[in-house]
């Protein structure tokens, strides 16, 4: 167990996701507490005081996002749970959706109370089947149990939660793209300003929060901000769900107390490297975070500040572990193929930049690389950074420039010798 735990506090069984078992674990008591004894402002204050940072990727302080929305300002507000988990390497929200859907619902109800949102939406990734069924069943249970709907648990608080299935676009996981999709439009992200908390869904103030972020609200209200702050580091309170994949012995979803030593997490909690090979690199938080080498992560703790200090980010918590002997050129090719395929095509730099980088790396992998290709990739990455409507364009550039920063020699080798130093391997040889 990687430190103290907040979310994964119960053994997962065939029925542990049901309302009955959730209540037996003390579920919906935070909601009782908030609705009967707290004002909406107090709920927001508690979340602000907890220092909870968004778990979707940007790690934006949750309370600051909420504070923009003024309860009772005479217009509808909306809350959206972003369950469109699509960042490559990330599958941690899926654990909550499958195993603790009521934790999310309770967190959403608390947030809706704080934000004065009459209607909430769960935008769930279209490819998610079991998670969708579990969440939809949980919503029905909660309606039947009087936790959602009108006069919730006998108080004057009304709130509906609507589950909406996405149609399979990575960019719909971007908050404003999600809202466009939820409105029934093509999932094109929007320019800011206005921010979504000013004009979001149906042009009304809207808070879009990640599933894990909202699930954490339940504990914060139940046990107080101080209890939450007691876990994790000072600048990164709480825990993170990390989904670990790649060349690792025990891939899966882990709850890690922020500040936990990274190497220890890989070597002990995750059972070490596959086939006992040496660690080459880690993509720490989904492929949109910059890759780090084994040397980079030595001595680092799993916390937002440590990762930022190393020039990367914990991002969406999708950790991809890469063993020695893997071809990083091929790895970048796969990443760029993804960005190229998923670029929505709305704004110029990303629409053309992602494809351009992809084709260049395709050519390098095919043994037709040119010496100027590396400089060209940097050029494209540079002018994708900060010029696009949403972060997808930036992220594609980070993937490329991050890989080139750390493994430039492999690219140079591949260009000079017209073949990969590691035969283009991305699977880890176990023998």
């Amino acid at each position: 167990m990687a430190g103290r735990q907040i979310l994964m506090t119960f053994p997962v069984t065939a029925t542990s996701h049901t309302l009955a078992e959730y209540r037996a674990r003390g579920g919906y008591q935070a909601l009782e507490k908030a609705l009967r004894h707290m004002t909406p402002q107090q709920v927001t204050q508690e979340v602000t005081a907890s220092g909870l940072q968004g778990r979707g990727g940007a790690s934006f302080p949750m309370g600051r996002k909420w504070a923009v929305v003024i309860p009772g300002d005479g217009q509808p507000h909306y809350l959206v749970a972003n369950a469109d988990e699509g960042e490559p390497g990330t599958f941690k929200d899926r654990w909550i959706l499958e195993n603790a859907p009521h934790l999310l619902l309770e967190g959403m109800l608390l947030a809706a109370y704080a934000l004065d949102a009459r209607h909430c939406f769960i935008y769930i990734r279209g490819e998610f089947d079991l998670p969708y069924r579990r969440v939809a069943a949980a919503v029905e249970e909660a309606y039947a149990g009087g936790y959602i709907g009108e006069r919730i648990i006998g108080t004057g608080f009304d709130c509906d939660i609507i589950v909406y299935r996405g149609a399979g676009a990575y960019v719909a996981g971007e908050a404003s793209g999600l809202i466009a999709s939820l409105e029934g439009k093509k999932s094109y992200p929007r320019n800011r300003p206005p921010r979504l908390t000013v004009k979001g869904l149906y042009q009304r103030p809207t808070v879009v929060n990640n599933v894990e972020s909202l699930s954490n609200v339940t504990g914060i209200i139940a046990h107080g901000a101080a209890a939450f702050r007691a876990v994790g580091t000072e600048k990164s309170p709480g825990t993170r769900l990390l989904s670990v994949s790649g060349h690792i012995n025990r891939p899966g979803v882990y709850e890690v107390e922020l500040g936990y030593p990274w190497r220890r997490f890989i070597d002990e909690d995750c059972g070490g490297m596959l086939g006992g090979r040496a660690l080459k690199a880690v993509v720490p938080g989904g492929i949109s975070s910059k890759v780090l080498t084994a040397a980079d992560i030595d001595g680092l703790r799993l916390s937002h500040e440590d990762l930022w200090g190393a020039g990367s980010t914990l991002g969406s918590g999708g950790m991809i572990v890469v063993a020695e002997g893997t071809c990083m050129v091929r790895l970048l090719q796969i990443m760029l193929r993804f960005y190229h395929h998923e670029s929505c095509g709305q704004c110029t730099p990303c629409r053309h930049g992602t494809g351009w980088m992809h084709r260049i790396v395709d050519r390098i992998v095919a043994g037709e690389g040119r010496p100027e290709d590396i400089e060209r990739l940097y050029y494209i990455a540079k002018y994708n950074d900060g010029t696009t409507i949403c972060g997808l364009g930036d992220a594609a550039g980070y993937a490329a420039s991050g890989m080139l920063d750390k493994f430039r020699d492999e690219f140079e080798y591949c260009i000079a010798n017209k073949r990969s130093r590691y035969e283009g391997r991305i699977e880890c040889p176990t023998s």
């Binding site: 709305q346 110029t348 730099p349 040119r370 696009t388």
Partner: protein, 476 residues
């Protein structure tokens, strides 16, 4: 009124303006593709990136002004980013200016020369897409040239409201496509998207490969298609570039019609009928004066008409509502006391033609009903008993409805069977051959100028009326 600093220069801006609007209003040009003053902000071309000191780069078209902000539109960073944006935009663009109708008036071409000027940094094969895609019977789409600024889709959603266009697929294979159940061909404003397109992606089928734009020049004119009286530009061959050996009709034909932006009447738009002025003006012309179908010299016909008018005891005039204010005034001045005058409707709506809508199209399909009624009243034509002469000015009169035995003097510009039935027929000039003004239904007066010379055998109404009223022979 917040003051902002653009390139060190203090600029007064309105509180609700964006930096782009404030810059443009103060004569500081910031390049843009997707932004358009009449459309919502899309912010997708990223061409208008500017630098705000202390805040980095962002797009000017979506940046609200705030007092004291310091904007740089020409810093080295901004210039480098503009170059890069043009590198991205031309990455998959075919750069086939040599065979593109837009060449010469293409925003991308202009910006390339102004802001980039470098060859492509890419050696990759370009993404291929559809050429000559049929958007409607009026418009072709070249998807390879398209830069996906979405001006056309926004136009159909926000201005014409036909919702006829959308984007199919995503990424660099995104394509503008018609929506299945909303044909663009039924959008009477569809051709505006051709003007809106900053590149050569949307092409007019009428104008396709008809002329290089630099051989043409626009003459300001007024669309006579309805009482809205939209101001237009009629494009025709420049005098310097008159064709010598090919079909000389090219020198006097309308190459295309585009809107002439006019906030008082039509904004930047016109309807498709206005694009098709050639269908009105390039019908077969009457250029031969006739007495009961017998060809005569123009002077002879004028003399005969003058004599008929002089001899008539109860003459009635059916005045054209396609006449200019100047012609109407001349009629009033010289012949107003001679005739009992009624304003006639020259043109009724064609079967299936849209009668009216909220944007531009008006039910009265004549350009100067308001101007004519101002001088001659709005009583419907009613020929009194004993009418012995009818002067029919313009089209739209069925001679069978005129009193039996009344003599007919017919003034018309186009070849019609009834020309030969009139006692005197005098061919008239058309709008593209003269200068004048129309008054639209709201009382706004707009000017049109001559595009082509008037043939010598054709009369000009203004001088004709003076001649008809003269006691002795006067040459028109």
């Amino acid at each position: 009124m917040p003051d902002i600093l653009i390139n060190g220069q203090t600029v007064h801006a309105d509180a609700d303006q964006t930096v782009l609007e404030a810059a443009l209003a103060n004569g500081i040009f910031v390049p843009y593709f997707c932004w358009h003053p009449q459309l919502s902000t899309a912010g997708n071309c990223r061409m208008c990136l500017v630098e705000v000191e202390g805040r980095g780069l962002d797009i000017a078209c979506n940046m609200p002004v705030s007092a004291g902000m310091r904007v740089l539109t020409d810093s080295p960073e901004v210039k480098a980013h503009r170059k890069a944006m043009l590198q991205f935009i031309t990455l998959n663009h075919p750069v086939d200016c040599g065979i593109c109708d837009k060449a010469g008036e293409c925003t991308l071409q202009d910006y390339h020369y102004t802001y980039n000027g470098e060859p492509s940094k890419s050696v990759e094969p370009k993404v291929r897409s559809t050429k000559y895609y049929n958007l409607s019977n009026r418009i072709l789409l070249d998807n390879e040239r398209c830069i996906l600024c979405l001006r056309c889709t926004r136009f159909t959603h926000e201005i014409s409201k036909s919702m006829a266009l959308g984007v199919e697929r995503r990424g660099d294979v995104s394509n503008i496509r018609p929506v299945e159940d909303r044909p663009l061909g039924e959008d009477p404003y569809s051709d505006n998207i051709i003007d809106l397109c900053p590149v050569g992606a949307l092409l007019s089928r009428q104008f396709l490969y008809k002329a290089r734009i630099w051989y043409l020049e626009p003459t300001p004119s007024v669309c006579p298609g309805c009482e809205r009286g939209c101001t237009v530009q009629i494009w025709h061959r420049k005098d310097d570039w008159r064709v010598q050996t090919l079909d000389p009709a090219q020198n006097t034909s309308i190459a295309r019609v585009t809107p002439l932006e006019n906030p008082a009447v039509n904004g930047p738009w016109i309807c498709n009928k206005g694009r098709d002025l050639a269908r009105i003006f390039e019908r077969e012309r009457a250029d031969q004066s006739m007495l009961k179908g017998k060809p005569v010299e123009l002077d002879t016909a004028i003399e005969a008409a003058r004599e008929l008018i002089g001899a008539a005891r109860r003459p009635v005039a059916l005045v054209s509502n396609w006449a200019s204010n100047e012609e109407l005034a001349a009629f009033k001045q010289y012949l107003g006391t001679v005739f009992t005058s009624f304003v006639k409707s020259d043109c009724d709506p064609e079967p299936g033609e849209r009668l009216a809508d909220d944007l531009l199209i008006r039910p009265d399909k004549n350009p100067n009903t308001a101007g004519a009624r101002e001088l001659f009243g709005d009583a419907p034509p009613a020929l009194p008993d004993g009418t012995d002469l009818v002067l029919v000015w313009g089209e739209g009169c069925d001679f069978a409805t005129l009193p039996r035995g009344a003599r007919i003097v017919f003034l018309n510009a186009f070849l019609r069977p009834e020309n030969g039935h009139a006692d005197v027929f005098v061919p008239l000039s058309i709008q593209t051959e003269r200068h004048g003004h129309y008054t639209n239904f709201e009382g706004t007066v707009s000017e049109f100028r001559p595009c082509f010379p008037k043939p010598a055998t054709i009369a000009d109404a203004e001088t004709l009326f003076k001649a008809l009223a003269a006691p002795a022979r006067v040459h028109p």
